[in-house]
Each structure stands twice: as C-alpha cells, then as structure tokens.
C-alpha cells in the first residue's frame, strides 16, 4: 500500500487531516513525505493511504512535488526560511553618543571643563599675585590662596 507516489492523509500530530505524498521509503517503519504537510520523516502508521497514486521520482524535490500537487488542486506547505533579522545588540557607547542625552552630557562636560580651567587660571594668578606681594613659604600657599579667593570678590 505504501509506495513512492502514494497520496496519503496524515492522521496524527500537528499535520493531521492534511494530504501528503510518499517521496521516499527510509526503512521498515519510516517514510519521507511532502505536500500539504511539512516535508518530513513520518511513521507509516501515522498515514492513511488513499486510492490515488501520482508519478514522482524517488526522493523528488519539494518543487517537483509542489507542481504535481498544483495539478491536483491541493494546497502546498511551503516552509519559508525565516528572514534573518539582526540580533538586537546592546549598544552601550554608541547610543549615548547618538542620543540627545549624550550630546547634552557632552555639553555639560565641556561647560564644566571651561570654568574649571578658568578657576585654575584664577588660582594660579592669585598665587602669583601672592607670591609677588607677600613672598610666603610654599607650605602655607594653600591657606593663603583660599583667603585670597574669599577676599577677591569683596
């Protein structure tokens, strides 16, 4: 009953109730099927043979089976390979740079840097002034600079 080209109905599993054709006989129990079901290995006990037989080669490709099935007016299960989509990767550095927040941070950093430089310059200038005016030993410089900074705005 089970032979290459025999149209069967699958009676078990996900494809139950769909028509398929035996493409190859693998061993005593298993056959390769294709058609309205997925192209797959199948136990012949999970198949119910029908009276129809179509002419196909042993081990026929899916395209050949699809042509024959179209002649019979039966639907064909086309397994489409999933379109390979890019894996979502964590972009740690790039996102921050590209995003608005990142740019804002950069601006802040720049803003911070500039005043710091100014402060340093002012400190330096203050030190210089002190050094010139008071000519104190270097140990007490820190204290004196603080005093000067406090005093300068007044």
């Amino acid at each position: 009953m089970i032979e290459v080209g025999r149209i069967c109905v699958k009676i078990a599993g996900r494809d139950a109730g769909r028509k398929c054709v035996v493409v190859d006989i693998l061993d005593d129990n298993f056959v390769l099927i294709d058609g309205s079901t997925r192209r797959r290995k199948c136990n012949f006990r999970h198949l119910e043979p029908t009276a129809e037989v179509i002419k196909i080669k042993k081990g026929a490709s899916h395209e050949e089976v699809a042509k024959e099935f179209e002649k019979l007016g039966l639907p064909v299960w086309n397994t489409k390979p999933k379109p390979s989509s890019e894996r979502p990767r964590k972009q740690r550095g790039k996102r921050k740079k590209a995003g608005q927040e990142g740019s804002g941070k950069d601006e802040k950093k720049k803003g911070k840097k500039e005043p710091a430089v100014k402060a340093e310059a002012s400190k330096d200038s203050g030190k210089e002034e002190k050094a010139e005016s008071q000519s104190q030993p270097p140990e007490q410089e820190g204290q004196s600079s603080e005093e000067q900074q406090d005093g300068s705005p007044q």
């Binding site: 078990a12 599993g13 139950a16 109730g17 119910e48 029908t50």
Partner: protein
C-alpha cells in the same frame, strides 16, 4: 469572602519551617479536561485554576494538533481515518 472553614477549600497538612505540622486550606482545582468522545482525561491540558490558566500561553494549554484539547489523540486519529476513507 468564604470562611476558612468552608468546604469549598481543601485541607492540606504542611510542615512549617519550625517542624510543626499545620493545616492549610487550599482552593480546590477544577476537574481534569476530558475527551468529548471517550471521556478519558486529556493529556497535555493542565489542571489549574482559571486565574492561572489565564496567564498561561495558548500553546501550554492544549496539544498543538487538530481537535487538541477537545479529543484525545486516539479518538482524533479514528476521526481522521474516517474522514480519509469517505
């Protein structure tokens, strides 16, 4: 709210962390789903409270085959053979 002593809850003995055996009242689970043809309990259909079943994915609630969750596999096969021979 039902009282703790009502028959709507099941009595379960549980061992506490202190070693004492205490009595807990647990909600009863619904009956197992059964095959519409032969009446055997269906496999692959969890016996859970509706609140838990609601949160399960669809594929975890019934087998992925025609009449899954309605007929048992053997009854489905018989039906498919019947259809194929018509």
């Amino acid at each position: 709210m039902t009282s703790e002593k009502s028959r709507s809850k099941r009595i379960v003995a549980r061992k506490t962390p202190g070693g004492r055996v205490s009595v807990r009242r647990v909600a009863r689970k619904p009956e197992a789903a059964k095959c519409a043809e032969c009446g055997k309990p269906l496999k692959g259909v969890p016996r859970e409270l509706p609140s838990k079943m609601r949160n399960l994915p669809k594929t975890a609630k019934r087998p992925e085959r025609p009449f899954g969750g309605y007929l048992c596999s053997s009854c489905m096969r018989k039906l498919m053979v019947k259809k194929a021979r018509e």
